[in-house]
């Protein structure tokens, strides 16, 4: 006789669906530049709004010029940023000077707006140590090439702030591919365990080189990975400057008030290739997808919003474009004028006091360089 015992049904799928349902995308401005959620509109003055637009336009020009300078061989390593202006600059706009930024290799714009001189950013691209000599008082490290390393380091910076009793946050960025790294999880988990003031931003631009987001994880959002660390996670429209600003501002407030870290996923897109080192996006991306995302352009929607408010026009935009081009020309000139690197420079930068092997090699290279 068959057992009549009822088989207990634990609905694990339902548990997953419940979790996913908690990560709805925060949006304030739609593609046309219309406010879709009044309750979330940040308190920004007209000056602040136009300043944010100014930075976004400037950075779009910086990207166009950087690609061109790279093609001319006047820049080296460059990871295009067009499309990510809201994600990069509106998030930065929510920070204060004392906040510390740990950028990835694509996050040069944030450290420029935080105080890194443009010519140094160009020297970073070319491969010159002066580019990474961050000026005193500018709280950034050079762009991190090892994907994920900036996350564990950010937990340490944030714990440092907490121990010093400073009202400041550590902010770090990675991409969608980076969220698969062990250091990504360790970073958010450490910051959570110490309730450290850190903001972890994942710029989900849909592709890690040629690998689409879906190949990184079965998780429907990256924001939900915050659950593994027991910290808040937020999914935001990364093409919407007001939404990005709002969620970062809120995360910062919580962090400096002892509320611990936040993970923020910005849903965005890079219009260009992964880097200028031979990546060809037409091999893995369709022009349909490109044009779909171009409709979401952060500049277009923010421009419409500001024009409708009567605080932006073509003249202002052209002014900033000319300014950007002028600054870039000067910065490249200054980079050109930077003395070439010598082996003795590289040796001198290794330790505070040179060990005997390097003292010996220093003398050898000094002799060579004097000829």
């Amino acid at each position: 006789m068959a057992s009549k015992t009822k088989k207990t049904q634990f609905d694990a799928v339902k548990t997953l669906e419940n979790i996913e349902g908690q990560f709805e995308m925060v949006q304030i401005l739609n593609e046309k530049g219309e406010i879709v959620d009044d309750s979330l509109v940040p308190e920004l003055s007209d000056e602040q709004l136009t300043e944010l637009m100014r930075r976004m336009v400037y950075t779009r020009i910086l990207d166009q010029r950087s690609i061109s300078l790279n093609r001319q061989g006047r820049l080296g390593f460059y990871a295009p940023t067009a499309g990510q202006e809201a994600s990069q600059l509106a998030s930065h706009f929510a920070l204060e000077k004392e906040d510390f930024i740990l950028p990835g290799y694509r996050d040069v714009p944030q450290i420029i707006w935080h105080g890194l001189p443009l010519y140094k950013a160009f020297l970073f691209s070319r491969g010159h140590f002066v580019g990474n000599q961050i000026p005193e008082g500018v709280n950034v490290i050079p762009p991190q090439i090892i994907i994920g390393a900036q996350y564990v380091q950010a937990a340490g910076v944030a714990l440092g702030f907490k121990k010093r009793g400073k009202q400041a946050v550590a902010v770090t960025y990675t991409g969608d591919g980076g969220s698969s790294q062990g250091d990504f999880y360790e970073g958010i988990n450490f910051a959570g365990a110490y309730s450290a003031p850190a903001i972890f931003i994942v710029q989900n631009n849909q592709f890690a080189i040629s690998t689409p987001r879906e190949k990184q994880t079965a998780a429907t959002t990256i924001a939900q990975k915050a659950i593994a660390a027991g910290i808040p996670g937020v999914l935001v429209d990364g093409m919407d400057p007001l939404a990005v600003y709002t969620v970062v501002k809120e995360a910062r407030e919580r962090a400096i008030n002892g509320g611990g870290p936040t993970l923020i996923e910005t849903m965005c897109y890079r219009y260009g290739p992964h880097t200028m080192a031979g990546d060809d996006p037409t091999r893995y991306r369709t022009s349909d997808t490109d044009s779909e995302w171009e409709k979401k352009d952060p500049l277009v929607r923010f421009r419409n919003y500001l024009v409708n408010k009567g605080i932006w026009n073509e003249e202002k935009e052209n002014e900033i474009i000319e300014q950007a081009k002028e600054d870039i020309k000067e910065a490249i000139k200054k980079a050109d004028d930077t003395p070439k690197q010598k082996v003795t420079d590289l040796i001198s930068n290794m330790y505070e006091e040179l060990p005997n092997n390097l003292q010996e090699q220093y003398e050898i290279y000094k002799e060579k360089e004097s000829k």
Partner: protein, 325 residues
């Protein structure tokens, strides 16, 4: 003066620096209330508080990143990696990041970090606890690698390591933690990094060693003495950078040398010592410089340690080959 084991001398050095410098932070897996798996941090959290001496989640890479991040806020981190076989988890933070921190920022930042970690065989530990991986660290520009063999050296070298403004890997041999006591001054003192010490003077043969092999070398030297050979034993103390001057001065005096390490022959740093002697003192040599090292296999299953690990008999055998060349 007090009679201390090496582990007590290490705790004493940590206590000294926690008192001296409020930026010193000690952290790692179970180093807080537990006082460390070997009691190296015993009593420190009680004396200095959870803010200075604290536990971390179980993730070596995170510990490395935490240390680097803390340096940006002016701290002087002294993290612990529970066993050095776990280095592989934190290799990027160590070799890819902190070792390069000063260089990659052109001196704008630096990393005054001392990583403490136990290693070494002869105490029947499970897998990946006893491996000698100092060779990996010695190949990384930007690091200094220190391996004490006595309680006195351990205290003076650890204080120097903590005060150094660049990253130092401080490797503590497990077999030496409590194997003997030595007079150690209670007050603070330092021993310069990068300086070897002649632990025994001799005129016929130089033995260059470090870690537990220093003691096997001293034992071998005593037995060789009975057979009429005068043997000099150099304890490197710092394996990167090497104290070339002390090594070469000794070889120029004795004209014969061997290099002794516990690591496999293809690992460790013995080959580097041999190359330096060949470069700088070949005309003084009466015989080739031979190496005593472990076989080039994975670190042995614990029961096989006695037949695998180099010991004083291997040292005597190799010394005689060189003496009778």
């Amino acid at each position: 003066m007090a009679q201390m084991t090496m582990i007590q001398a290490i705790t004493d050095a940590l206590r000294t620096e926690l008192r001296n410098d409020e930026n010193v932070l000690v952290f790692g897996e179970d180093v807080g209330v537990n006082g460390g798996v070997f009691r190296a941090t015993e009593g420190l959290q009680k004396e200095f508080g959870e803010d200075r001496v604290f536990d971390t989640p179980l993730a070596e890479s995170g510990i490395g990143g935490l240390a680097i991040g803390l340096t940006t806020q002016g701290f002087r981190p002294v993290p612990e990696i529970q066993f050095f076989g776990f280095l592989f988890e934190v290799m990027d933070s160590v070799s890819g990041q902190m070792a390069r921190w000063r260089y990659r920022t052109g001196g704008a930042f630096h990393a005054p970090i001392t990583i403490r970690s136990p290693f070494g065989g002869g105490v029947h530990t499970p897998e990946m606890h006893a491996d000698s991986l100092e060779g990996l660290m010695a190949q990384q520009p930007g690091l200094k690698v220190v391996i004490p063999s006595t309680p006195y050296d351990a205290k003076g070298l650890l204080i120097s390591a903590i005060r150094d403004n660049d990253p130092v890997i401080f490797l503590e041999h497990m077999k030496l933690y409590r194997s003997f006591r030595q007079e150690v001054p209670e007050e603070e003192y330092t021993i310069p990094l990068g300086k070897a010490e002649v632990k025994r003077e001799g005129s016929d043969l130089t033995i260059v060693a470090y870690g537990a092999m220093v003691h096997d070398s001293l034992k071998a030297a005593e037995e060789l003495e009975k057979e009429g050979h005068s043997v000099e034993v150099i304890d490197l103390r710092t394996i990167s950078p090497l104290d070339i001057d002390t090594i070469i001065a000794s070889v120029e005096k004795t004209n014969r040398a061997i290099v002794v390490q516990e690591a496999q022959k293809q690992a460790g740093i013995a080959a580097q010592v041999v190359a330096e002697i060949n470069d700088r003192a070949i005309l003084s040599l009466e015989a080739p410089v031979l190496r005593v090292a472990a076989p080039d296999t994975v670190y042995p299953f614990s029961q096989a340690e006695p037949v695998w690990l180099p010991n004083h008999k291997d040292i005597i055998e190799t010394a005689k080959k060189v003496l009778q060349f």
